[in-house]
């Protein structure tokens, strides 16, 4: 079982990479959107899935990535821009991570939400007063296919990294922290370092995702890239699938993304009413995510079996 899954995943990856040759531009757009959210949700769960720290800073990193590309795309070659974006994301995560070590529960939630707003306000102020150009353009020769392949690669790396971490000491440490921080500290886990490493890894991926997605937008300003909805959607998707499972975030992201797309196309007037009802429904019907729900169903039918991650 354990050997088959990576093999299957590899085949799926190859198939997914070939799909753009067979679909329309809109199909490709859908793929990009879905893979982007798979990446975001998986990267978010990398830190938050096990520690249960609900971070709403997703868009702070995602937006920073996009903004880095907007600022540097005419100065540096594309790969260098990506590298700089990753560095900035990582550095930001370390500062934020160090600052928030004392925060837990809803305070962490609110802090991360405030962080996204603060970053947006500061960039705006800087642009207005120092550079005098708010609103930047990204004219890069990157096709939608190119974006898709990059994003798909990032998603694959994210899920592989998650699988690796879950089996490593780091993953175990994160699980213990999620269960009880005091116990974790007593059992010799270096709390600060463990949390920081996971948070930074997650943040670097989120930042890269923003950087990769940004050429599709052409025009970028803080109000556009720091759209708080992205943070919320990421959380919902990861939780819907099951944030502490390897494939949970991906399983949550794809159907939700498609549902949003369906609703906005067919019920543009009442889209947000449906969306709201859906959220509430998910919270009530699938509290631990779809995967856990499936497990429960299975457990009801058969004897409890050993769980695979």
């Amino acid at each position: 079982m354990l050997k088959v899954v990576p093999f299957l995943a590899l085949i799926a990856l190859i198939v997914l990479a070939a799909v753009p040759f067979a679909v329309s531009d809109y199909g490709l757009g859908l793929l990009i959107g879905a893979v982007t959210y798979v990446t975001l949700a998986s990267a978010w769960a990398l830190f938050s899935g096990h520690t249960r720290y609900i971070s709403l800073a997703t868009v702070a990193f995602y937006g920073t990535g996009a903004y880095t590309v907007a600022v540097l795309n005419e100065v540096l070659p594309y790969w260098a821009v990506l590298a700089v974006a990753a560095l900035i994301g990582g550095a930001m995560a370390l500062v934020v991570g160090l600052a928030t070590l004392r925060l837990a529960g809803v305070y962490f939630v609110i802090f991360t939400f405030g962080l996204a707003e603060l970053v947006r306000q500061l960039i705006t102020w800087y642009e207005v007063n120092v550079t005098g150009t708010l609103g930047r353009y990204i004219f890069l020769d990157i096709t939608a296919r190119g974006i898709y392949w990059q994003m798909l690669g990032l998603a694959a790396v994210t899920i592989a990294l998650t699988a690796y971490i879950q089996r490593s000491r780091l993953g175990l440490a994160l699980k213990v922290i999620g269960d009880d921080e005091v116990v974790a500290a007593h059992s010799g886990i270096h709390l600060a370092r463990t949390k920081l490493v996971a948070f930074a890894a997650s943040a670097v991926i989120l930042t890269l995702a923003g950087a990769i997605a940004s050429p599709r937008w052409v025009y970028v300003e803080p109000a556009i890239v720091f759209n708080p909805t992205v943070s919320f959607l990421t959380v919902i998707m990861a939780l819907l699938g099951g944030a502490n499972r390897l494939w949970g975030p991906a399983l949550g992201a794809v159907p939700l993304f498609l549902i949003f797309e369906f609703l906005s196309a067919h019920f543009p007037d009442t889209y947000s009413i449906f969306l709201g009802l859906l959220f509430i429904g998910v919270v009530f019907a699938l509290p631990d995510g779809v995967l856990a729900g499936l497990d429960k169903l299975k457990a009801k039918r058969t004897q409890p079996k050993e769980r695979t991650a």
Partner: protein, 288 residues
Amino acid sequence: MALTTLILGLVLGGTYALLALGLTLQYGIARIMNLAYGEFTLVAAFCLVALFQGAGIPPLWAMIAVAPAGYAVGWALYAVMMRPLVTRAGNSGRLEVDSILATFGLLFLIQGVLLVVFGANFTSISYLDQGVRVLGVSVAANKLIAFGICAVVGGGLVLALHFTRWGLTLRAVAQTPGSAPLVGIDVNRMARQGFALGTALAAVGGASVAMHQTFSATGGVVFTMKALVIVIMGGVGNIGGALVAGLALGLVETFVATAIDPGLTLAATFAIFLGVLLWRPQGLFGRG
């Protein structure tokens, strides 16, 4: 000039504090992090405008009608939607996550309904917006009213919480929800009351917003954020703290706008907020 800043800042702070009172009750007592808080204030604001323009009911009277309606809505909402989540969560920390998600859904739901019913337009009424001289500084009368309501309601709540048995019970639930049942407190009932009272205050806050500000159906999240910042700064569930934090926030924004740079007002708000979170996560006036 300093006096102008002081008065404008205090009045602004009063309108902020009024917005935050309801949220601090909801989160402090009922343990529900209500992300749809701003949407509740908007519903009240739209109702007020509809009553004013449709039926000619003066906003101050409408406000008195809106508050009990808010209480009823909050009561029902808690019973139908929040209570099952509370029961399911038990003593684990999952209520926080569940309530965030559920109220986030509520946010979309209400926003969608508002857009369908009232449209996307900016809405505003002109009511008591002539200037009133306060120590030589001209202040809009409707903002002064908001400040007054904030002082009366907030002050009244502080007194009630500290000097009545009901207040004592509420505080007990807020501070140690785990042990409150041990002394015979019906936590569920108190939580429902707290949530309903919070919704009523949200309605009052929204009604006062309608009197002094232009708003549209998509702007609720701004109110939620402002209220959240104040609630955290003042200490969750701490009415007095929310009052002081709201006033402080108004003063800071006005000071930054006049003395430093209006472009930094919101950044300053969030910087202070994050600073408080880091320095005293329990809030400036929380215990801990």
